[in-house]
Symmetry: C2
Subunit: 350 residues, 2 copies
């Protein structure tokens, strides 16, 4: 998640002052930002650490992208996927949006004593199948076991190593007013599918997680408009709203999106209305956001469409002001500020 | 932990038949082997996967070593170290014994809701300090939070990337009868220190974990006897007995060790006698085993001594028979077979 290249002068980061860790600190929104920027990153990486999806480093003469994620999704299985697939695709996508071709994975497991072997085997097969589909090889890992009641079935951590793609030159520092914001497809499918899988909701929507590798789409995108591509991000925990707020903060610019252009399925809209949530805050697992120079926007969209992302859309643009702010404009001329996710309406979504 | 290079023809691996996961499957001994060789490795890596401490892969023209480990040690702090230090040194050492210079770490955290921020901060500082001492940079990671009662304070996963050292050419396939087995220092300190830290034992031994990076010692060793060095391993979970049994199995040879040459502190001997354990089965965190061609053994020992490993010793040798067996001989002419660790006397030792 770290890219140590400084992007824009940030205001001083507030030290993390909460006395203890709460679920909201893991939700990917404001509380997570405060924990990461105010405590974890300054100690582990350094006072001026800027965090991207994957770190770009040179090792032994190779330009590599490195990333790691832990997966604690509950339940382990949900329509459209399971923790094993998520653990592969989530890490592969962090490499892809950093402009790196995913190549190699390490997989570690923390197993809860009492876990049924057939559940473990099912998730191992899900990991292997997702890795095969994503074209990455699993080269190692580790397995630990903790007492019953000290985990929740299986927690999976994947570390991914990719090779930086020469066609990609991505940085928030390259984003300019007028650049277009492209979204790869429907939002909120993953978060809503997991919520429905937990049951207890008088709702029977046919929703599936969108978990998949986005590298094939990004590969086409790099071919079509590589030099026009400025920035990418996969809007997982915290959703599109959080990813765009991070972009606004890192660029010191404004992001204006058009509400009616954002692809949202009726089922997702229904679940969100029922729960008082904004689809822009719901986690996605198989989507990405791209900022493209104006002259490349049309071709970028065509490339994603051609790669199977039929719902992809240009959802907005970068503006000068209001700085560090995301604005959603409606077709009728209204506008509202879109904040990062606050609190944790959806614990353990990935 | 994986090295896909086939080493010796292995008998067919039995499929893992246990119906559920038990603590013993995480102890690093026979049950762990059955789980890894009979279920996890065949599905994730392939049917003929041979597992080392780190995978050696070529990526983007660079010869890299990759490894990942999860850490679930209980309690979080113990004399001589804590989970944060362990998470750095354990992964760094897996790279070092693979003959790679540790360079870069990714760190992911699974935090239990309710964890005190000062405990988290203490472990973050332990991670940062250990990384500094080991000369590795932390470039990224991830943080997840689970409900209170779904973890045990903090679980840490570290992935490490190292650069293969040109002085090292290590493989069980290179081990020959007559090669000498060198041990870097006292065994059992880590496992006994963690056990004592759990309390409940009417024993007040002054024992400290041996957690440290072994790379400085291995660096000296490679300088001194690089071409004579055949194989290395860090004897963590399952102890020296398990590491040597894996060597015997992978080489199809015998390993004969001399009991009286194995450096064991009186305090470790005392704890083990009290609990009916063999120090050879106790986990170490800052030691390594090396197999050296006979002509290099003396210089290898001298190099480890010079690097601060004052208790290092030549503890035995490789023989033709009995194949796939570890034998411990006493000074009085007795001999016993040393098996891998069976069961889990020491859960969550790392």
């Amino acid at each position: 998640m770290s890219n140590p290249a400084p992007v824009a002068p940030s205001p001083a980061v507030a030290r993390f002052m909460d006395a203890q860790i709460e679920m909201a600190h893991g939700a990917g929104g404001k509380a997570t930002r405060r924990l990461i920027d105010g405590l974890i990153a300054p100690i582990l990486i350094g006072p001026t650490a800027e965090l991207g999806d994957a770190a770009l480093v040179e090792l032994g003469g190779a330009a590599l992208a490195l990333t790691a994620d832990s997966f604690v999704v509950r339940p382990l299985q949900f329509p459209g996927g399971s923790i094993g697939e998520l653990a592969v695709n989530g890490t592969v996508n962090d490499l892809a949006v950093a402009g790196a071709q995913p190549r190699t994975l390490l997989v570690t497991l923390v197993l809860e004593a009492g876990l049924a072997t057939d559940v473990l085997e099912r998730e191992l097969r899900a990991i292997a199948a997702a890795a095969r589909r994503a074209g990455v090889s699993i080269v190692g890992g580790d397995t630990k076991v903790v007492e019953h009641g000290r985990a929740d079935g299986i927690y999976i951590t994947t570390a991914g190593i990719g090779i930086k793609d020469a066609r990609a030159n991505l940085s928030a520092a390259l984003v300019r007013p007028g650049d277009q914001v492209v979204l790869s497809g429907y939002i909120g499918d993953h978060g809503c599918a997991v919520m429905l899988a937990r049951g207890g909701m008088a709702l029977d929507a046919a929703l599936m997680s969108d978990t998949r590798s986005v590298w094939p789409m990004i590969d086409r995108l790099l071919d079509a408009v590589g030099p026009s591509l400025r920035w990418m991000r996969d809007p997982t925990r915290g959703g599109v709203a959080t990813a765009l707020n991070e972009l606004a903060r890192d660029t010191n610019l404004a992001i204006a999106i058009r509400e009616e252009r954002i692809p949202v399925r009726d089922e997702v809209r229904g679940v969100c209305e029922l729960l008082g949530l904004d689809p822009l805050h719901i986690a996605n697992e198989g989507q990405f956001l791209a900022v493209v120079a104006p002259e490349g926007a049309h071709d970028a969209l065509a490339a994603i469409h051609a790669a199977g992302g039929h719902a992809a859309a240009i959802i907005g643009e970068v503006r000068e002001v209001p700085v560090r702010t995301v604005i959603a404009e409606s077709a009728y001329g209204g506008a509202r500020v879109i904040d990062m996710l606050v609190g944790d309406p959806l614990p353990r979504i990935c």
